[in-house]
Amino acid sequence: MTEPVLSVREVVKRYGANTVLDGISLDVREHEVVTVIGSSGSGKSTLLRCVNLLEELDDGQVLLDGVDVSDPRVDADVARRGMGIVFQAFNLFPHMSVLDNITLAPRVVHEVPRDQAEQNARELLERVGLADRAGSFPEQLSGGQQQRVAIARALAYSPRLLLLDEITSALDPELVGEVLALVRELAVAGRTILMATHEMGFARQVADRVVFLDGGRLVESGPPEQVLGEPVHPRTRQFLRRIIEAGRL
């Protein structure tokens, strides 16, 4: 079997006395879509931020294509070029146009000439359905449009791994669909995706594998029909029961 794109090994992350990740191990293989579920505070976002090296690990390793990028001797800026992350609150740069948001990393990190970067960005905007908004500023767009721009921004330098951190949680219900449709397209196109989400229905349809986090530990992992349909662990069952009661599954 080939090397996984991402390999998280025994990762520990603490904030003061609070242990947010308590020895998490997880592999994501090429073309695989893995969704991370769990209640708020279970460590989903922290896990993604640790993978993206936005947080320093307290123990364990993050391997990208077999290379330990959590080693302090590795240049995190270089390692991040292989990953794209999309945040819950979009985090677009408000002082830049949509086009500049998308071309920033290709231009200043990957040294792609401006006209080539812009042409690529326009193609991406076409794909996310916002070809006519290249000159707009983020605050002139709806939440769903902003999130689609953020996805385009993360795709602009063709990262090996796409990290999606609860990307629909800050959206109005009627805008969730357009963003999820885009992620579904990316999954079908064979992108390697690690995604934290509360959208259980979406996870069931799109994910190759679902992992359930609880209290910073990986409690259960498997194909969606098993983890979401016939969970083994009592914590998973309890979590899913609450989700069902809230009408979200």
């Binding site: 985090n91 677009l92 740069f93 990393a105 330098y157």
Partner: protein, 276 residues
């Protein structure tokens, strides 16, 4: 077609606003009349008018004061540019994190504490008269240059704090987004943090710029012949204070374009970023 109810409401609103406008106009007029009568009716008014508002002396002193103002303007532009660059550097030093940067951070903090606290007039004397007295080679003895140095030292401390407030107001999620795209710390600061920071503190910066416009007149205490000094010379010559009023009005006129520019900048930023 508006309903009867809405028409009646609009009529009421219109009558209220007409009344408010009328009250405002009337009270302003009353205040102006009272003010004029109080000043012109004061027992000393004829003397004051003669020694502060003498049109003939104003006209005669104008060329000398304008020439002085031209010096103020040049000092303002040069100092303004130097202050912006230095202040940005110091603000950046103060926001650096990590023990490696401790000495630089501490130095920047001491600098800001010292020069923000020191009265400008005292600093002008120290730099203007103390520095040349050292007789070091390379130290200029031109009072304009020395006065400029003192202005730069003080205003850099103020403006650095304005910039720092701006830098710290940029949300950490913006840094995370920039770093996640592979941008280095330096590029994140230059391309993502500073543009947003500068935009946010623009009104405060322009405010400090107006203050600097006025304080440029303080270099006159060292003997540089700027607008204030020129007014003083004219005052001594004519034994009349009108030249000071002329210089004062010219400084006000100088500040007006800056104020309008600040307003325009604010409106532009609002339009571009969708208004918030």
């Amino acid at each position: 077609m508006t309903s009867e109810l809405q028409r009646e409401r609009l009529a009421y609103k219109r009558s209220r606003s007409r009344r408010s406008t009328l009250v405002a106009l009337l009270s302003t007029a009353v205040f102006a009349v009272v003010a004029v009568f109080t000043v012109t009716g004061a027992p000393g008014w004829p003397r004051v008018r003669q020694s502060f508002f003498n049109a003939e002396i104003a006209w005669r002193s104008l060329p000398a004061i304008l020439e002085g103002l031209w010096l103020n303007l040049r000092v303002l532009l040069v100092c303004g540019a130097v202050i912006l660059v230095l202040a940005l550097g110091i603000a950046t030093l103060r926001t650096l994190r990590g023990p490696v940067w401790f000495p630089l951070r501490a130095l920047a903090t001491v600098y800001v504490d010292l020069f923000r606290g020191l009265p400008l007039i005292i600093l002008l004397y120290l730099v203007g008269f103390g520095l040349p007295a050292l007789r070091l080679t390379g130290v200029p003895n031109d009072f304009v240059v020395l006065g400029g140095v003192a202005l730069v030292l003080t205003y850099t401390a103020y403006v650095a704090e304005v910039f720092r407030a701006g830098i710290e107001s940029v949300h950490p999620s913006q840094l995370a987004a920039a770093r996640s795209l592979g941008l280095s710390r330096r590029k994140t600061l230059r391309l993502v943090v500073l543009p947003q920071a500068v935009r946010r503190v623009m009104p405060a910066l322009l405010n400090d710029f107006v203050a600097l416009q006025k304080d440029c007149g303080l270099i006159s205490v060292l003997g540089a012949v700027d607008a204030v000094r020129a007014a003083q010379i004219e005052q001594a010559r004519a034994y009349n204070f009108t030249p000071y009023v002329v210089a004062g009005l010219l400084f006000v006129l100088l500040a007006v374009p800056t104020a309008r520019f600040a307003d325009a900048m604010g409106r532009r930023a609002q339009r571009r970023e969708g208004g918030r």
